[in-house]
Amino acid sequence: MRNAKAAAKELLLGGRYPEILSRLGEKRKTVRVLRSLLYEDEPLVKWRAVTMFGWLAREKPKLIDSEVDRLIWSLNDEAGSIGRGAPETLGEIVRNNARLGRDGGKIVAHYIEDPETCRPPNRNPEILIGVLWAIGRMGERRPDDVEDVLAAVGNFCDDPDPNVRGHAVWALGRILRPGSGEFVRCRTGDPGRVLVYEDGELRACTVGELAREALLKQKQTGESGA
């Protein structure tokens, strides 16, 4: 297991996703190794593991057909596990294979309204950011699926935590729906620093930069944002 984990880490950092299966084997033990990497302290390893689950959902769905249930359970476990990385992974699975995880997508999206997960005073910022990221990823492909939580996402655009409001802006920028522009426009001058994972890389930027990019994208694609 230790050797498999070290190999998987190296391959994830190299972005060599298909090689993970050829090196570690096309079996569920490899999926367990990837689940374990969702808890990694090193952010890029964790995020690339999330991407790998999306790749598996697209290329090898049978291998992860029980993962959606397990990930949802990890967010609701009575026996004390935190479900670290679960929202992002569910979002990435749904984005890449809606048939495999559509129910999981709806559940994750609606976590944004859950008082125990995302609302103060008991919210968990890490899980909240994962939920926002998942909504952005799922909504980019199928905006209708997340339409009913967009207002809730918008409310996080003025959150005191720059990472939270940055991810809310980033998510709305991906979805490009009428009505979301107002939330984003308010943040164009926001100097708060945010670390966001996109296109397979971690990117450090300001909330303002993300807001301006979102508005530009809306303009280019013709959404009114009104």
Binding site: R28, A79, S81
Partner: protein
């Protein structure tokens, strides 16, 4: 004196009456200096009054890098009892055999006094040293202090739970292998599995040094390792005579209580038909000076024990009748077996299904085949009740016959 108003708890106060120690008395002592415990008493009083619990379902809390070890608890009566709005539990991996020095206990209590309610559960049914009640903000500082002093969190969620063992060779002459060493070794080997839940459901290891099974591993663990021997019970006939001379009724209290009737006593000496001994330990427990386990020792591995949660309770059943628990090769034979079992569970386990339930679903034969263990008489629970059994040889014969016809 408390600088906060102590809660009135007339219903809980009833539990202080009578001859037994009361948790209410302990909590009231603590409530004088810990507002969290004071509010906890208030909330408990409310629960007694309303006959209703006031803890919400779980909560997503933890420390960086770990997926388990912390059990989130939030109060649904936080407005009324603000000091226990958060009441998270921290599981601390106990030392093997639950041996502590007094300095280690003070260290743990000091850490907990600084960051939590000060209340502990020594020990939880999981085996861990359990810290009861702290806030989300205190979790990382507790973890930092614990790890700085070489403590670690235990397991929770769908991971390997903190392995536990009896105190084995440290105190007990019956121990057939070094349980504390095995438990420590396995805990260190499976750190990733312990801290990062990635299994279908929880997995518990328990190590008992002899068939007395003082940690109840057969009932309370998925993988139970029980010390045994494969040679003969050692008999000291002189000590048998001493027991008889001191008035022990050997026939009544030992021979007739042997569940397999494999013992006899002629008034002078005990003889044992060791092939029929089922290691119940009764005779050894009753006459420890005269009877001792054999010298060719190791362990029996049993699988599938669990308490009732999703399905009913299961007792573990024999998987490997005898294995040498070999320190010198780092328990490699045991670990190889574990890898094969987990590979199977990864492939076939259903979410929230313990390994015992999984084996019941797929059938023991299929399980054994998958983990490359040959079927043995020890695997049989009871004689079969279904007469319609077709062996592989039957189908081969049919195929051969049809091939000949063609």
């Amino acid at each position: 004196m408390a600088d906060h108003k102590l809660r009135e708890t007339p219903l809980l106060d009833e539990l202080k009456k009578g001859p037994w120690p009361s948790f209410v008395s302990d909590m009231k002592k603590m409530a004088e200096r810990k507002p969290m415990v004071n509010d906890l008493l208030g909330q408990l009083e409310l629960s007694y009054k309303e006959k209703k619990g006031h803890w919400k379902h779980g909560g997503l809390v933890g420390v960086m890098g770990y997926g388990g070890g912390i059990i989130g608890r939030y109060s649904d009566a936080a407005k009324e009892f603000p000091a226990c709005a958060h009441f998270h539990t921290v599981r601390v991996n106990q030392p093997s055999g639950w041996f502590y020095t007094s300095a280690a206990l003070r260290e743990l209590c000091d850490i907990w006094d600084r960051h939590g309610s000060g209340m502990t559960n020594m020990h939880g049914s999981t085996g861990d040293c359990v810290f009861l009640g702290t806030t989300t903000d205190e979790l990382e500082p507790i973890f930092a202090e614990l790890t700085e002093k070489d403590w670690d969190l235990g397991g929770s969620g769908s991971d390997v739970r903190t392995p536990s063992c009896c105190n084995g060779m440290a105190r007990c002459e019956y121990a057939c292998y070094d349980t504390m060493d095995a438990c420590y070794n396995i805990t260190m080997e499976y750190q990733d599995e312990l801290h990062r839940p990635a299994f279908p459901y929880k997995w518990k290891f328990k190590f008992s040094g002899c068939p007395n099974d003082c940690v109840a591993s057969i009932a309370r663990s998925d993988l139970s390792v029980i010390g045994t021997w494969r040679d003969e019970i050692r008999i000291d006939q002189a000590a048998v005579k001493e027991y008889a001379d001191s008035g022990m009724e050997i026939r009544a209290n030992v021979i007739r209580k042997c569940p397999t009737s494999c013992m006899s006593y002629d008034g002078k000496e005990i003889t044992i038909d060791n092939k029929n001994c089922n290691r119940c330990m009764h005779c050894i427990n009753v006459m420890p000076k005269a009877l001792r386990p054999g010298t060719d020792t190791g362990a029996t591995i049993l699988i599938g024990g669990k308490a009732p949660i999703i399905e009913g309770a299961l007792l573990a059943t024999v998987l490997v009748p005898f294995i040498k628990m070999n320190k010198d090769d780092d328990y490699q034979e045991f670990k190889d077996l574990m890898e094969r079992i987990w590979d199977f569970w990864d492939e076939h386990g259903v979410n929230r299904e313990r390994i015992g339930e999984c084996i019941e679903r797929v059938g023991l034969g299929n399980f054994l085949e998958a983990i490359e263990v040959d079927p043995l008489p020890e695997h049989v629970h009871h004689p079969r009740t279904n007469p319609y059994i077709f062996y592989e040889e039957y189908f081969e014969e049919v195929d051969d016959a049809e091939a000949q016809k063609a």
